[in-house]
Symmetry: C2
Subunit: 192 residues, 2 copies
């Protein structure tokens, strides 16, 4: 439990240091949460009320388009996670979140987070910098997905996150890479 909050505090302070008193209050709003593999965190059409910090395990974010399940991204230890567009806009989510392993999370309710933003400038700053960080990561990924072939995207993922292949099913990785499971299977064979 302590390790979870320590991880969370470190993550936050890497972007914006907090006063001890601020952290003490902020901390009270974060709730620890253990979930089993395969748990559906957010469903489509539902407004996301929580923002999650992943302490252990993997969470998969995905969208549905024409009945297709498209993986948008995976959150591991130290990442934040959630149907972030719905959380921010308060509109029904177009995305879902589910655990692909057993996970340990901490979560905070929208209202509590907004109150913290109002109350503490340092937390407001963390919010700004956190969004900026996400934005940068996402724009890099956008360029990536445009500049490389299926095979190159696969190789890059193998280099950057080899562990993912142990933690997530092939078809989810395939949809994340923007290819069919068959194509991914053939690429893996080629490497072996």
């Amino acid at each position: 439990m302590d390790a979870l909050f320590k991880g969370l505090k470190d993550q936050i302070e890497s972007l914006s240091p907090l006063e001890e008193s601020e952290w003490c209050e902020f901390k009270t709003y974060w709730k620890p949460l253990k979930l089993k593999k395969g748990h559906q965190i957010t469903r489509i059409g539902q407004v996301e009320d929580y923002f999650y910090y992943v302490y252990e395990g993997v969470v998969r974010g995905y969208a549905f388009k024409d009945g297709e399940d498209i993986s948008i991204g995976f959150s591991y230890k130290g990442d934040y996670s959630g149907a972030y567009d719905s959380f921010l806009t308060r509109n029904p989510s177009e995305w879902c979140m589910e655990t692909t392993t057993n996970v340990e999370l901490a979560c905070i309710h929208y209202n509590d987070l907004m109150n913290m933003f109002d109350k503490y400038k340092s937390i407001e700053r963390w919010g700004r910098l956190f969004n900026a960080k996400m934005l940068i990561a996402m724009s890099r990924r956008q360029v990536e997905s445009r500049s490389y072939t299926a095979e190159e995207r696969f190789e890059r993922l193998m280099d950057q996150s080899p562990h993912l292949f142990q933690l997530v099913s092939q078809r989810h990785i395939a949809s994340y890479l923007g290819m069919t499971p068959e194509t991914l299977s053939r690429l893996r064979k080629k490497v072996r």
Copy 2:
């Protein structure tokens, strides 16, 4: 000139209202700027020192991968623009910005904006919400680019931003849509 600042103020206040005194100070750091069509705003490898507000005209953001020019996005009237990853990280930019029409902009220097973030919570908040807005737009676009065929992406762009086809060359639109200029040309013929 006044209209430019009014537009800027409205944009900012749509996310976070400012005290009159805050706006008066903030305003002094924004510099108006007129540029001709085809002007290179940011080059690759250069650190982006400015953040831009587009009052009139179109700015194109693009990346280079293996000598390929890939359009990332277009900013029109009322948008913000800039090599945002470089601006935020202070690393040399992997992206470029150029005007595709004559433009009128307002720009603010990194240091001045950071000072404003430090000084005013309302401006810090604007920064957070602005990043959030960009993030949401980008994540929608990411899902879009995965879920639709070239033809569908073209049709959606025709619906959403028909004016773009007047303001930007076909090959830039093509790279934005993730297809070759030839393919775009054929799709346009089909519609006519």
